[in-house]
């Protein structure tokens, strides 16, 4: 089948504003979801679930969160790890103190608490921009790391400082196998990703992008900078918080504040840059790339008979990331998602490039 929009005339604005206006795109998304739900579980093994699928999905959600703030609203943040920690510890405390709470409610609570903290730390953005804002969010990262390491109530006075969750269940079904964890993550991420796509295409999304592109002109058409920036911090932190809660509960099971340190912030930021600033699809591509690259470097040279030492692999990883980030920042700020779009554009016209 050809990838074409010829002949697909949209006769109503409603059809033109559908979430995936091109039929092939709609089928592509439905196809990917169907594959992820129906086919993958037939052959996936524990390794694929816990080392690839679950991390890619959860980190994609965090990347969507950061992309809303940085890619769509233009506010750089280095505090993603800290906001993930807020989500994880808020969820942990709710589950600990009100044990009957539904697991989905627990995750959403993590998101809401991260949202509140995010708005609080977003207030400086009303005054400062760019580099200075990045430094302010970095300060919030360090403050939050410190708080979860030092304020013992958050970790229920665990002597090791590490917290653990066990016996997860949802509607009476134990979430104990990797496959069940994966399906739960997939469900939440798919719903939230579609919701993000909706937001981006609506009034709020236009307010964010307008603020990003030219805040002065945005103000002149009646967009309050306060409203646009803080709503971006709120929505972004909510997504990051839910991702943090799921990372703690479904990926790690037990964790320390170190799991959400500054490296996590940079990891998510790199996903957004490599995947594409201002793209939901890019958030997935970036997360997949960053999770898969080390696995690839570990496995493939070995299979080809060129064994690399572990140190070599991690050096190579840094070099490739570094090169790609420089490349994307300079040449293609819209990242892998843009390369994908260009490929689609070519395909749409192929074989007649005129």
């Amino acid at each position: 089948m050809f990838y074409r929009e010829a002949g697909q005339f949209k006769t109503t604005y409603k059809a033109d504003q559908a979430i995936f206006p091109i039929v092939q795109d709609r089928w592509f998304v439905i196809g990917v979801l169907a594959f992820a739900v129906l086919i993958l579980p037939l052959f996936a093994n524990q390794y694929l679930y816990t080392e690839v699928l679950i991390p890619v999905l959860i980190l994609s959600l965090a990347a969507i969160g950061l992309n809303i703030l940085t890619g769509y609203c233009g506010q750089l943040s280095l505090g993603t790890g800290g906001f993930m920690a807020v989500g994880a510890y808020a969820a942990y405390n709710l589950a600990l103190r009100v044990p009957e709470t539904n697991l989905i409610v627990v995750f959403l609570f993590g998101g809401v608490m991260a949202m509140l903290v995010g708005v609080l730390f977003g207030i400086p953005s009303l005054r400062i921009k760019g580099f200075y804002l990045a430094v302010a969010t970095l300060a919030s990262q360090f403050f939050l790391e410190w708080a979860f390491a030092r304020v013992k109530w958050f970790t229920n006075y665990a002597p090791s400082g590490s917290v653990a969750v066990a016996n997860l269940e949802l509607f009476g079904i134990p979430i104990d196998t990797p496959m069940r964890k994966y399906l739960l993550v997939l469900f939440i991420v798919a719903v939230l990703a579609l919701a993000a796509k909706n937001l981006i295409r609506g009034r709020l999304g236009r307010m964010w992008m307008a603020t990003r592109d030219m805040d002065i002109a945005a103000e002149i058409i009646g967009i309050r900078p306060l409203h646009a920036k803080l709503s971006a911090f709120a929505v972004s932190s909510f997504y990051v918080g839910v991702a943090g809660a799921m990372w703690g509960f479904l990926r790690l099971g037990s964790w320390e504040p170190l799991a959400f340190d500054i490296n996590r912030s940079f990891q998510i930021l790199f996903m957004v840059i490599i995947g594409g600033l201002g793209s939901i699809l890019g958030s997935f591509l970036g997360a997949a790339f960053i999770v898969l690259l080390p696995i690839f470097l570990n496995q493939v040279p070995g299979l080809l008979g060129i064994p690399l030492s572990t140190a070599m692999v991690s050096h190579l990883e840094f070099m490739i990331f570094g090169a790609m980030i420089v490349f994307f920042l300079i040449v293609e700020p819209h990242g892998l998602a843009r390369l994908w779009a260009i490929a689609k554009e070519k395909l749409r016209l192929w074989p007649f490039p005129f």
Partner: protein, 266 residues
């Protein structure tokens, strides 16, 4: 000059009045004790040599700069302090001397952004994009499509504005301002850098906006032919001072104006 409306306007009610406004930046006195008014339904031109303070005046009117002295009365309300978004809420829209579009967004989204003020649905509806939120998008899309038809930019609606030629960017920017359905539209050199044909198109749009929607327009323009054709009344600034105010014919004959444009020393 467009005769039919002139007599109505002379008698018409005042939409905006500027009284004894002064604005300085440190030592630079950009506006000195200027007073004039804009009547409902008119096209009011603001002219003057480079650096006369025309753009600064628009910036004062839409709350972008706070004047150190003077009073501004809009729709009967005298204002002390106002932010640009308050001006937008009050019904003042504008375009910029250097196009100020949202570069990463399509022409359609730029104009849709102009509808932000008119949209009501909250976050949760927008997340789901069903029912009221979707209807709201569609209702506003219809209004925006009317503007797109009016400005004859159907073919470029999905194009990111950064890729458009300058003349079309100016048109999209006008569309964004029109989407706000303003009572007062401020246009800062809407035809600068355009060729003759583009100027003619733009003049036609401005006349139509004024005639069909009854929008009051304040227009900064250097091209005297355009000013004479479009405007009902003209105010002339020079070095921050108002040197003339009247119909295009009166202003054209005013000796101060002739001197200012010929650069006679003060």
């Amino acid at each position: 000059m467009r005769a039919p409306a002139d007599s109505d306007i002379a008698a018409g009610e005042i939409l905006l009045s500027i009284e004894n406004v002064s604005l300085s930046f440190g030592g630079v006195r950009a506006i000195r004790d200027v007073s004039f008014d804009i009547k409902k339904g008119e096209v009011r031109a603001i002219i003057g040599p480079n650096g006369a303070g025309k753009t600064s005046m628009l910036n004062v009117i839409n709350g972008f700069y706070q004047p150190q002295q003077g009073r501004i009365t809009f729709k009967g309300e005298t204002r002390t302090k106002m932010r640009p978004y308050d001006a937008a809420h009050g019904g003042i829209a504008r375009t910029f001397q250097n196009v100020a579009l949202f570069k990463g967004m399509s022409a359609l989204d730029n104009i849709m952004a102009g509808r932000t003020l008119k949209m009501r649905r909250g976050l949760l509806w927008q997340l789901l994009r069903i029912g009221p939120a979707l209807n709201e998008e569609i209702v506003h899309r219809h209004r925006v499509e009317e503007i797109i038809d009016f400005l004859e930019i159907q073919a470029i609606r999905k194009v990111p504005v950064a890729r458009l030629p300058y003349g079309l960017q100016k048109r999209v920017e006008l569309g964004r301002a029109l989407a706000m359905e303003p009572d007062l539209l401020l246009l800062d050199e809407p035809m600068a850098g355009m060729n003759l044909e583009e100027k003619e198109d733009m003049s036609r749009f401005i006349i139509d906006v004024n005639d069909h929607f009854g929008t009051t327009i304040a227009l900064i323009e250097h091209d005297m032919g355009v000013v004479m054709d479009l405007s009902d009344r003209v105010v002339v600034l020079d070095h921050g001072v108002k040197i003339a105010d009247g119909t295009p014919d009166e202003v054209k004959r005013n000796q101060n104006v002739i001197d200012a444009y010929l650069g006679v020393a003060h």
